[in-house]
């Protein structure tokens, strides 16, 4: 994808792209258990390639997730600066590029899911050099976090979430309005099936569609979603696109190690015998319609996924949340999301903080959290935001409680009066 944009921006192409991109590389070596020497080697190779591009490039290590602020989880204003015009032009140019099939695929180029680009307002031309390897404490915290997660599925999901947050953060800091990822048709088909299997069916339209506006001011687009992996691989080979390979968290994992691997194996095997499998799944994903959104605050949003958490079930977690349902009390009931909340004199202790975080997640994230034994290892921004939201929520409920109490008393009184009156009349 980076290569294709490079071609698109060159002077002699038929229709020139009109945005200024930057490239980001996220170094996930700590989560994948790579040694520091390997990481340094990969970084050096990446730098070499990125420097030849001529775009501003950014290098972040996944450890920086521990330094994020909770505001990354909040949805900001939805009107990005001057985005609409550039977006249309970008889409047009991609559709009309004559000379290619795929491009630097997310396995040939900056490794899987790290081949990502940024659209920025013109003017930012700096290349951010990493200031040395990240602090060891953060690296260790990250390794501990990933080490404590029990299953590979949960690890992969977690990695994906953290990576997204980090990228959003960098996008917002540097003023980029869009993030382009290199997901190909095959990858998206696999992602679709995997999301269904993991209970994230509610967000399919955003996860696999062309554009994802869940995060408000930064839009995630997927321009490569029309090209299959095969096309991309051939393109890379025929046009000698430089690439760097780094092992990912599930490299060399056996087939049944995680839901992602299983689904990948399943789809690719099916594709070998029925060549239209991937394109069928892909076409189906195109038919998914996103629910209309009327502003940011349209309901409780999943803490990690930033999407309306409708359909959140609490059945699996009743042991961690002591529910005290009050009939008719003002619990905000959004579209299907009847969530029990910890009403008590105020959260205290570990149980409650875990419950605090969990009650703000969608079903898919909750299932994931089952495999994370201790929430203390989570990056601080997640815990802080969870606490903030639940405090806000309990404040809202406080108001309702007072009102309801008053109402009930009034009803009780009037009933009592009614009895007395009727009693008096009879008597």
């Amino acid at each position: 994808m980076v290569w294709q944009v490079l071609e698109g921006l060159s002077r002699d192409s038929a229709k020139r792209l009109r945005f200024v991109p930057g490239v980001i590389y996220v170094d996930e070596g700590a989560a994948c258990g790579q040694s520091p020497e390997d990481r340094a080697k990969t970084v050096a190779e990446m730098k070499l390639i990125l420097q030849t591009l001529g775009f501003p490039w950014h290098f972040v290590a996944l450890e920086e997730v521990f330094g994020l602020s909770p505001s990354v989880l909040r949805c900001s204003a939805q009107e990005p600066v001057g985005a609409v015009g550039t977006y249309k032009v970008a889409v047009d140019s991609f559709l009309q590029q004559q000379h290619t099939l795929g491009t630097e695929r997310a396995g040939g180029s900056p490794s899987p899911a790290q081949g990502e680009e940024w659209l920025s307002p013109p003017g930012t031309q700096e290349s951010q050099d990493p200031a040395g390897p990240p602090p060891a404490a953060q690296t260790e915290a990250l390794s501990r976090l990933f080490g404590s997660v029990k299953t590979l599925t949960a690890k992969e999901e977690f990695l994906h979430t953290l990576r997204t947050h980090l990228i959003l953060h960098v996008a917002r800091t540097h003023g980029y309005s869009k993030v382009m990822t290199g997901d190909s048709c095959t990858r998206l088909a696999i992602k679709l099936m995997t999301s269904l299997a993991l209970g994230r069916g509610a967000f399919l339209a955003w996860d696999t569609g062309f554009s994802d506006e869940r995060h408000g001011d930064v839009v995630v687009v997927r321009p490569m979603r029309d090209h299959t992996l095969k096309e991309v691989a051939f393109y890379n080979r025929l046009f000698a696109v430089p690439s760097v390979f780094t092992p990912a968290i599930d490299t060399k994992a056996p087939e049944k190690a995680s839901v992602h691997r299983l689904m990948e194996g399943f789809l690719l095997r099916l594709q070998a015998q029925f060549p239209s499998t991937v394109s069928t799944v892909y076409r189906t994903s195109e038919k998914l319609v996103k629910a209309p959104r009327d502003g940011c605050a349209a309901g409780p949003r999943c803490l990690l996924y930033s999407a309306t958490a409708f359909g959140a079930q609490t059945s699996g977690f009743s042991q961690t949340q002591p529910p005290t349902p009050r009939a008719g009390a003002g619990a905000p009931t959004e579209a299907g999301g009847a969530q029990d909340r910890c009403r008590g004199a105020g959260p205290c202790g570990r149980e409650d903080s875990r419950a605090q975080v969990i009650e703000q997640l969608c079903y898919g994230c909750r299932a994931n959290m089952k495999d994370v034994p201790s929430l203390d290892l989570l990056p601080p921004y997640i815990l802080a935001e969870a606490q903030l939201r639940s405090q806000r929520a309990s404040q809202e409920i406080q108001e309702y409680l007072v009102e309801n109490g008053a109402e009930e008393m009034q009803t009780a009184e009037s009933r009592a009066w009614g009895h007395q009156e009727s009693g008096a009349r009879i008597a």
Partner: protein, 101 residues
Amino acid sequence: MAAPLSVEVEFGGGAELLFDGIKKHQVTLPGQEEPWDIRNLLVWIKKNLLKERPELFIQGDSVRPGILVLVNDADWELLGELDYQLQDQDNILFISTLHGG
């Protein structure tokens, strides 16, 4: 009776991890009764080049689905897949498109 063949076997997209990280192997296939085709080549690779985890590369008779095979930069499906007969100085490229985000 087939004469010994000299072919170049390349690995890309991560497949080289299974072969000690070496991307290009210049190999000389010994002479044998039947002519060399991709099927025999795979067996030979499994026996001689593959260092670990054969199930990640080979599945049954053929390569694992998700691994592309190019012969002289052409898709092997156009050439008959497993039955393509190797010529001297051919270039066989295996690209893995698996795993990753």
